[in-house]
């Protein structure tokens, strides 16, 4: 038997090898693993503890004002909520649609929902699928409304606070929000209308999110 293999020419050896591999393919199963995901619990826990995956609303606001386009902003809420108001340049993808979406593994992705629960859950899903550049907007849309759109200054502000609030007011106006002063604190949220959805004046339009990378021949 050993002689049989030794006597085969190189070509026949290769052919036999190919046949064996081909034959085994009948039993090896499907090459598509689709929606399966693996979780390295320890690694994920460490990332969560270090909190390096958070982005504050102020940082996001600055990035949008500066016209940065190296990230994708994902709004996880319903289509109806998205249509009513969304952060400029956000894309609407529901949690259930994340798996089939066109998000690329090598993109920077920022997730937000109303608070932080859905965005945290979506973060976990994407991390399990091997995405490495996923961030959560700390505080979600609630924080965005509170800090960016409708910022408030306390009743008796210190001079430092006044100076800081001046900048905050500018940011708020940029996004079409309404800065509050202490006096109107009580009559706040219900009366305030959400800003219209036109792109903020002066913001550079981002390059289309799904930049078609030419991969043909």
């Amino acid at each position: 038997m050993k002689n049989f293999f030794a006597d085969l020419s190189m070509n026949k050896k290769l052919g036999l090898f190919a046949f064996v591999l081909g034959f085994l393919a009948l039993f090896a199963g499907s090459p598509y693993h689709g929606s399966e995901a693996t979780v390295n619990a320890k690694e994920l826990a460490l990332i969560v503890e270090k909190e390096v995956d958070h982005v504050s609303v102020q940082t996001l606001a600055d990035w949008i004002i500066q016209g940065k386009s190296d990230f994708r902003l994902i709004d996880l809420r319903s289509e109806k909520d998205f249509a009513e108001y969304h952060v400029p340049f956000a894309e609407n993808i529901l949690l259930s649609g994340l798996d089939q979406s066109n998000l690329q593994h090598n993109e920077k992705i920022i997730l937000y929902s109303d608070g932080g629960i859905h965005s945290a859950q979506a973060w976990m899903l994407l991390e399990a699928k091997g995405f490495k550049g996923v961030y959560i907007l700390r505080g979600g849309l609630e924080e965005w409304k509170d800090q960016i759109l409708f910022p408030r200054i306390p009743e008796n502000p210190t001079p430092a606070q006044v100076v800081e609030f001046a900048k905050t007011k500018e940011v708020s106006k940029f996004f079409g929000g309404t800065p509050q002063s202490g006096a109107t604190l009580e009559a706040a949220t219900p009366k305030l209308s959400m800003p219209k959805l036109d792109a903020p004046a002066g913001a550079q339009s981002k390059a289309p999110p799904a930049k078609k990378k030419k991969e043909g021949c």
């Binding site: 190189m10 290769l14 030419k214």
Partner: protein, 177 residues
């Protein structure tokens, strides 16, 4: 009297071994880049750059060229295929040099003139350019890459290439035999 040692060209490799080498390069491309090989696309980029230099407005209004211009932020030559094809030239040269197969020559059969052969080469190239664009690729991109991926269009393409070549072979046999 000067003695010149003539370096004889070495014989080509066992085709199956060369094929395995080629297949491994293709596999590496899948694993590293998530894409296969190609060739004709690089020439399309080249043509686009050339036409753009001469007639930029024409290029902007033509759907075909526009695809290679992209959003205008970078040169069409800064493209994966262009760099790959440059590598093909180099790789071919390396292999040829090692085997003493680099010679200035016109490949042809005994029954056709050099001029005739060169005319046919140009005509063949022209047809190839048109066919490759229609099919979105050539033998490297469609047949090899698409073949390994079970791409339906690629397999159909591959069969037509062999069919077409065999059908035409009779009419140009004088060029090769």
């Amino acid at each position: 009297m000067s003695t010149q040692v003539e370096k004889h060209p070495l014989p080509y490799w066992n085709p199956y071994v060369a094929g395995i080498g080629l297949g491994l390069v293709l596999l590496a491309s899948f694993v590293v880049m998530g894409r296969g090989l190609g060739a004709s696309g690089a020439f399309s980029s080249l043509v686009t750059v050339g036409v753009q230099a001469v007639a930029p407005n024409h290029v902007a209004n033509n759907e075909f060229y526009a695809e290679y211009i992209g959003d205008g932020t970078k040169s069409p030559l800064k493209d994966w295929l262009v760099f790959e094809v440059l590598g093909v030239f180099v790789g071919g040269f390396i292999s040829g040099s090692l085997a003493h197969r680099v010679t200035k020559v016109v490949e042809k059969g005994p029954n056709i003139s050099t001029r005739g052969r060169l005319l046919m080469a140009f005509a063949g190239g022209g047809l190839m350019g048109i066919g490759a664009k229609l099919a979105r690729g050539c033998t490297s991109g469609q047949a090899l890459t698409g073949g390994a991926l079970f791409n339906v269009g690629s397999w159909a393409f591959m069969m037509m290439v062999f069919g077409g070549a065999y059908a035409m072979a009779y009419f140009v046999r004088r060029q090769w035999q």
